[in-house]
Amino acid sequence: MPRLLAEGVLKSPLAEPAPPLAELGPAFAEAARRRLGRSLSIRQVDAGSCNACELEIHALSNPYYDLERFGLRFVASPRHADVLLVTGPVTHNMREALERTYAATPAPKWVIAAGGCAIDGGLFAGGYACANGVASVIPVDLAIPGCPPSPTALLQGLLTLLEGKPSSG
């Protein structure tokens, strides 16, 4: 163990530079910055994901992406959260749990739909067991496409909320 610990101190960190920010509506962006400053607490909710979206969300915490250096952190309760990061098409069996999680999150709050399933139901849209994405159940502020979105895409989306940069267009 001492050797591994020493390596961690002596070598330069693996963390890579932040990706460029995504487009985001200027009004919303300004509001996010004003209210949140440089810190964002995220509660992840799996509402019918295949779990690949979660794997890439997990990867955000590995030393390459090192999410916490941006002031972003995952929290265990919606009561501590600013942002709900929702994956999956929203199965009917998870709908109530998602609605209750949303209700338990204090305002101001933002909802991110991550992944093709969460955006419009993806391959499951129109089936007997699912809603057609997160926006058909609770209001969504930002969509991060991908199947699954790469950690870089996820980070980009989250940083956009955090930095609150108006869109360049």
Partner: protein, 481 residues
Amino acid sequence: MNWTTRETDQDGWREATQSLVDGRRTLTSLWGEPGRVRMALHGEGAAEILSLACPAGAYPSVAGRPATIRLERALADVSGLEPEGAADRRPWLDHGRWGVRRPLGDAAAADGAPAPYVFLAAEGEGLHQIPVGPVHAGIIEPGQFRFTASGETVVRLEERLGFLHRGLEARMAGLDPADAAKLAGRASGDSTVAYAIAFARAVEAALGLEPPPRAHWLRALMAELERIANHLGDIGAICNDAAFSLMHAHCGILREEVLRAADVAFGHRLMMDRVVPGGVAVDLAPAGAGAIAALVRRARERLPALVSLYDDTASLLDRTVGTGRVAPELAALFGAGGYVGRASGRSFDARRDAPYPPYDTLAFDVAVLDDGDVNARVWIRIEEARQSLALIDQILASAPAGPIAAGLPDGTGEGCALVEGFRGDVFAWVSLEGGRVRRAHLRDPSWFQWPLLEAAIEGNIVADFPLCNKSFNCSYAGVDL
């Protein structure tokens, strides 16, 4: 393993059930469609699918063999087929929220509010219950756990799943095999390669189609990358749940490097949609072989330090040794595959015991231990990661050149396949009609592992549940579908 399909009657069905109860054969899966139930089982030198007509919508319950209870409950929920004589008739997938009942059977509109779910009782003085889920504290899939505890000790755990039911098998019906394969690859995202191979092989068996040799080798290359990535991620996460985050960080780095190599080689970090019926969708990218060889070198360099870090940290072993034990008799009775079975003495690996190309020509060992605790499951994963590195060496050295896919004819037929994913054996069955999927069925290895988690936690303290749970890492999405 050569699967044969046989039409049977109620006596034949009961006889097969008895062979499962006696432990002479192992159940692979149980599924159905309106008017017909099917059971796949293997042992005594044969693998077969029994098909039983149920004109009255009922069949003799197979639940004398315990691992079958939830499969029967799921089957009843989606197809309406009732298991005669089954003790537990509670719904499993149907939480009363679909607006329809028996969606894959004689579908009927469902009315009224969902009925409350009744957990099994545990009686005794001073017992208390702890309800958990479906939304958990960490970033994990949703499910409910009902603990009954005496002080800190767990007396009973009952799982309730189904929250992720997306109606995946129903979505596959009517699609052509290429589109259905995309859904199969999203049954359980961490095993997307294993599922895609299993489904592709089932389609190929149904059509009597042999993919070109190179496709087999590239599939195996992806499968072994997927296995290493998952084992690394889980070894780190298990240690993290024992409050040892150094291991988590180092395993996280290596896992990320596996995914990046996969991205360079096949254009997707998790290699989704790269395996298709008929072969593979993409060949190894020009830089791919080099990236994977470099990854293997680096993993070999780093692994020994991580293994000794695990083995030399007494406070970590104190948490994992003797915790969450699964008795070998239970693993055998439930036919548990993967590291859960192999850490409890059940020596089964589809790559060796139901061999498919190219594994029939590759050299590898299947690690088996008897201790059945969290520690044993960690060691099995470490050994499997090492074996996968050796397999990748062999694949890179010997993969034949040539085409990577064969065209699919518009055929009719039935086929199935058993493929070893990182979690255990994944089973896929498909019935094609005129080039379209009439009905498909996928069985995740976790069907036979989830019930053992309930057994493993008994007598352990509540605080050790995350550790036990992580050492199993059962799939929720894969069983909920």
